[in-house]
């Protein structure tokens, strides 16, 4: 039987949809009261829960305190503050709502960002009796940064200002002017009293001058349908499904766009092309899949695909990036350390990355850009990351699913920041930083491209980073390799840690901090020389893994070759070319690597040389081969 389309449409229209809302307001703007009022008037509070609130109300109090409904933790009830994001659920016949209730304290920018990350709409509270606070603007900014397309500014406590139209309009005009700079799809203003319920669920008789909808009807009517990206097909692979020899599929959720059986797809990063053979679900095969469906795709060819790969249509692929520009909300007590290695988690892919540039910090109250070398807790700024492996990204404004990422601290495992990918300024040469003021210093963009230099010199720049114990043979090998390369007609230069300590790094000690700064400076020098087209051979103890990762981040992972010159402490001590081990053993040198300071062995060096057993010549052969592979283009 064929069902009339009209009937089907009606069925679809009647199906309530799910709308996710986040709330923001300063402390005491009445956010808890408002959410309590919404839940209460929408009938989402059960009688036993109300009874429990009544029991707690002070003796003699007539009305129950609606703000208590949302305080989930004992400390919150005792201190009367909201500590952490809570999620509330309620439904009307027209819609299902999930409300993220986020604390309004100054230090909780991060919670607001969390609530906003998944929201379709944000309610921003302003206390009519106080007017617009600095924080009200901050809330709007964060909400817009996280890509929430529409906001409702609920001007609360109208009862305290006698429901005065002039007060409402003054706040509306001032906030409206501010919000106009933030690219929202929709900004609405509603005069309410959360305490008395005016214009929350029902139209108030005390605001005859207001012709908009009360809050709940507004939330029920707000248009959110068009926010899903159905254009750019992106399928981040979660896992391969291979239950037996006959079935091979790739499980994941459609992040955006629509895929059909028979579509051509390209696998990133491999670039292999194939077709979608089947779209499998536990409930049978589908002809097409769209977000946020969780499906399993079978491909026509036997290509190699795994977790963290992404499928896209060949004529519409995401940016494949090793350098990422992003707006970042820093969310951890420990400030951002530029150059340090963090983990970026993006879709189903996690890569190592270091921040190579804090381009600017945004003052969330004025929206002005400020020059700043790092980001602290709850600060927002534009950062550039160097990625150790590529990510497949879209601009956050276009695609929340493939434009958002979180930053993890590999030591504490904490989630320390959230990032939103932004468009990169066109034609920035690879691994050079954009022109921007540092104090009064401006970067002057160059006129000679890296490719030109490479052609001129017949080589690609490379940094060979020799790490190992004192006496393991780093300097000897570095100079021998430089000789060999020069003899072969290549432009190479040694940066010897010991020599540099007489000049470039003369002021530094051997504490972990001193060593880190030493590594950073040498890495910056190597990068400059690479930019000039040279092959650099750095010989540096660089005992800490993290510092070496940082060096790779500064130089750029694609031109960084970590080489571990491996020799036992005993062997190095036997050689002791500079008599340093002997002095360290006598206690004359503090923090001597191998004796009284640690050396962290590289986990996966590009090359490991056994300088204990292999001859210098054999080691240099290996080094030369490794350099040739990366630095000498086949035609050169």
């Amino acid at each position: 039987m064929v069902r009339p389309t009209a009937m089907l449409d009606a069925a679809v229209a009647r199906e309530p949809d799910l709308v996710r809302i986040t709330t923001a307001g300063s402390v005491d703007d009445g956010k808890s009261t408002l959410i309590g009022r919404l839940l209460h008037d929408a009938g989402a509070i059960y009688d036993d829960q109300l009874e429990a609130l009544r029991a707690k109300a002070a003796a003699g109090a007539t009305a129950i305190d609606l703000s208590l409904i949302t305080d989930g933790l004992r400390a919150e009830r005792e201190q009367g503050i909201t500590i952490d994001v809570a999620y509330r659920y309620f439904a009307t016949p027209r819609r299902r709502f999930i409300i993220a209730d986020t604390p309004g304290h100054l230090q909780y920018t991060r919670n607001m960002a969390t609530g906003a990350s998944t929201a379709d709409l944000a309610i921003i509270l302003v206390d009519a009796s106080q007017g617009i606070q600095t924080q009200s603007k901050r809330h709007g900014f964060i909400v817009s940064l996280l890509g929430v397309p529409r906001i409702v500014v609920a001007i609360n406590k109208m009862d305290l200002v006698d429901f005065d139209q002039a007060v409402f309009e003054r706040i509306r005009d001032e906030y409206g002017a501010f919000a106009a700079r933030l690219r929202f799809a929709d900004v609405s203003f509603i005069p309410i009293s959360a305490l008395t319920g005016d214009n929350v669920v029902h139209r108030s008789t005390r605001t005859p001058w207001f012709d908009g909808l009360p809050l709940l009807p507004h939330l029920e009517a707000a248009y959110v349908g068009g926010d899903t990206n159905l254009i750019d097909f992106r399928f981040p692979v979660q896992r391969a499904v291979r239950p037996d020899a006959d079935f091979r599929g790739y499980a994941g959720s459609v992040a955006s766009g629509v895929a059909r059986v028979g579509d051509d797809v390209v696998v990133l990063p491999s670039g292999m092309r194939t077709k979608i053979a089947r779209i499998v679900t536990a409930d049978g095969d589908r002809d097409y899949a769209f977000p946020p469906q969780a499906v399993t795709l079978c491909l026509a060819d036997d290509v190699d695909v795994g977790r963290g790969d992404m499928l896209a249509h060949p004529n519409n692929i995401p940016r494949v990036e090793r350098t990422l520009d992003a707006m970042v909300v820093w969310m951890n007590e420990a400030a951002l350390v530029p150059g340090r290695v963090y983990l970026l988690k993006h879709t189903t892919r996690t890569v190592k990355a270091s921040c190579t540039d804090v381009v600017y910090r945004v003052n969330p109250d004025t929206l002005h850009r400020e020059d700043m070398a790092q980001l602290q807790l709850n600060e927002i700024g534009r950062l550039r990351f160097t990625l150790f492996e590529p990510l497949f990204v879209d601009e956050y404004r276009r695609n929340r699913a493939t434009g958002g990422f979180i930053v993890l601290d590999p030591g504490t495992n904490a989630t320390v920041a959230a990032g939103m990918v932004i468009e990169r300024k066109a034609a920035a040469p690879a691994s050079s930083r954009e022109s921007r003021p540092v104090g009064n210093v401006f970067r002057q963009p160059g006129r000679v491209a890296g490719a030109e230099r490479a052609q001129l010199l017949g080589q690609l720049p490379l940094t060979v980073w020799l790490t190992g114990l004192p006496g393991s043979g780093k300097s000897t090998l570095a100079h021998a390799l430089e000789r060999r390369l020069t003899d072969a007609g290549r432009a190479a230069f040694v940066l010897d840690g010991d020599n540099l300590r007489h000049g470039l790094t003369r002021d530094l000690g051997f504490t972990p901090e001193g060593r880190r700064e030493n590594v950073r400076r040498v890495a910056e020098a190597a990068r400059l020389m690479n930019d000039a087209g040279l092959i650099v051979i750095a010989a540096l103890i660089s005992p800490y893994r993290e510092d070496r990762l940082m060096a790779g981040g500064i130089v750029g992972p694609e031109r960084f070759l970590e080489v571990y010159v491996s020799a036992s402490v005993a062997a190095c001590e036997m050689r002791d070319p500079k008599g340093l081990y002997a002095r360290a053993r006598r206690g004359e040198i503090a923090e001597f690597t191998g004796v009284n300071a640690p050396y962290e062995t590289p986990e996966a060096p590009a090359l490991q040389l056994e300088s204990d057993t292999a001859s210098i010549d054999a080691c240099v052969d290996q080094l030369f081969a490794a350099v040739a592979l990366k630095a000498f283009p086949p035609t050169a």
């Binding site: 799910l18 989930g72 004992r74 809570a86 991060r110 896992r239 409930d283 469906q293 977790r307 495992n413």
Partner: protein, 303 residues
């Protein structure tokens, strides 16, 4: 082309989110386990786990923490359904406490839960070396649960610190842990009780018959209708009666109250819940012990 529909119903969106979470856990952890409590949420979890890995098998075991105080119908259901579905089921409990006759009447519900549930759970997790523990808790259920993350970090004693939770943005979950620590995972975080029943209806999922109304023997005590189990002690002046009741939530019989209801099937239950004025946990005796008792239990390692 134009006839294609690109919007998912609320239920299918929730389903998709849960499947996504299951797949993340299976891929990012080495030893995940699903907590199986035999209730309706567990039945839904089981269904979602199957869907997540079809046509393959569920790549992790299910764990039931037994207190020896569950309803007889629950044991029968558990063993039959798990065998039928080919689920690898592990049953563990605090054997010493059970042997010692631990019960809520003598030591109170707080201490009883602490021994039979929380300690049993923490021991079982330690023995199993599980790094991800999937549970069916929903944020809508209870106010401290409203503060839970989907990936909820636990220290090496299984404890929850609500003031120090990891931030959770988009659907990017942070599952990185040090040895000994674990993540509790809640794929049903965004589901409501009604969603659970609507899904049970849509997917024709089997649940323990105790959810459906029938004449059952109960005793009225402190405003609750309590079942009469093999070890139930009647207080002076109390007598049992037969009433048409059902259970909205299932736990240990000494601490689970019934509701008077004539909802004999899933459709009836959905109709009943659409108009009820009482929350799901009103029948759980243990939640009311003191203000914040669920929060306290969660801090100590309970689900």
């Amino acid at each position: 082309m134009t006839s294609d529909n690109y919007s998912l119903s609320v239920l299918r969106r929730l389903e998709a989110e849960s499947i996504h979470i299951f797949r993340e856990v299976a891929t990012e952890f080495t030893r995940p386990v699903v907590m199986y409590s035999v209730g309706k949420d567990s039945s839904v979890l089981l269904k979602l786990a199957q869907k997540s890995f079809a046509p393959g098998r569920i790549p992790f075991p299910f764990l039931h923490i037994d207190t020896a105080f569950k309803f007889p119908e629950m044991y029968a259901f558990r063993d039959r359904v798990c065998a039928q579905m080919g689920v690898e089921l592990r049953v563990l409990g605090n054997e010493a406490a059970i042997a010692a006759g631990t019960n809520p009447w003598d030591i109170g519900t707080v201490n009883c839960c602490g021994l039979l549930k929380t300690k049993a759970l923490l021991d079982a997790l330690k023995v199993g070396g599980y790094d991800a523990v999937i549970g069916g808790a929903r944020r809508e259920e209870e106010r401290s649960r409203a503060k839970e993350r989907i990936y909820s970090f636990r220290d090496d004693h299984g404890q929850w610190d609500p003031r120090n939770q990891r931030l959770e943005l988009w659907n990017l979950y942070n599952g990185r842990i040090h040895a000994g620590e674990s993540i509790r995972v809640f794929p049903l975080s965004n589901w409501t009780e009604l969603d659970v029943w609507r899904y049970i209806a849509a997917e024709n999922i089997e649940v323990v018959p105790l959810y459906f109304a029938a004449e059952r023997e109960v005793v009225r005590r402190a405003g609750q209708l309590l079942p009469v189990g093999s070890k139930t002690r009647l207080l002076p002046g109390e007598s049992t009666e037969r009433a048409l009741i059902r259970y909205r939530s299932l736990g240990c019989y000494p601490c689970t109250g019934a509701v008077e209801s004539d909802a004999r099937n899933v459709t009836d239950i959905i109709a009943e819940l659409e108009v009820t004025r009482f929350s799901e946990r009103v029948t759980r005796v243990i939640d009311h012990d003191r203000d914040g008792s669920m929060e306290q239990k969660k801090r100590e390692g309970y689900f």
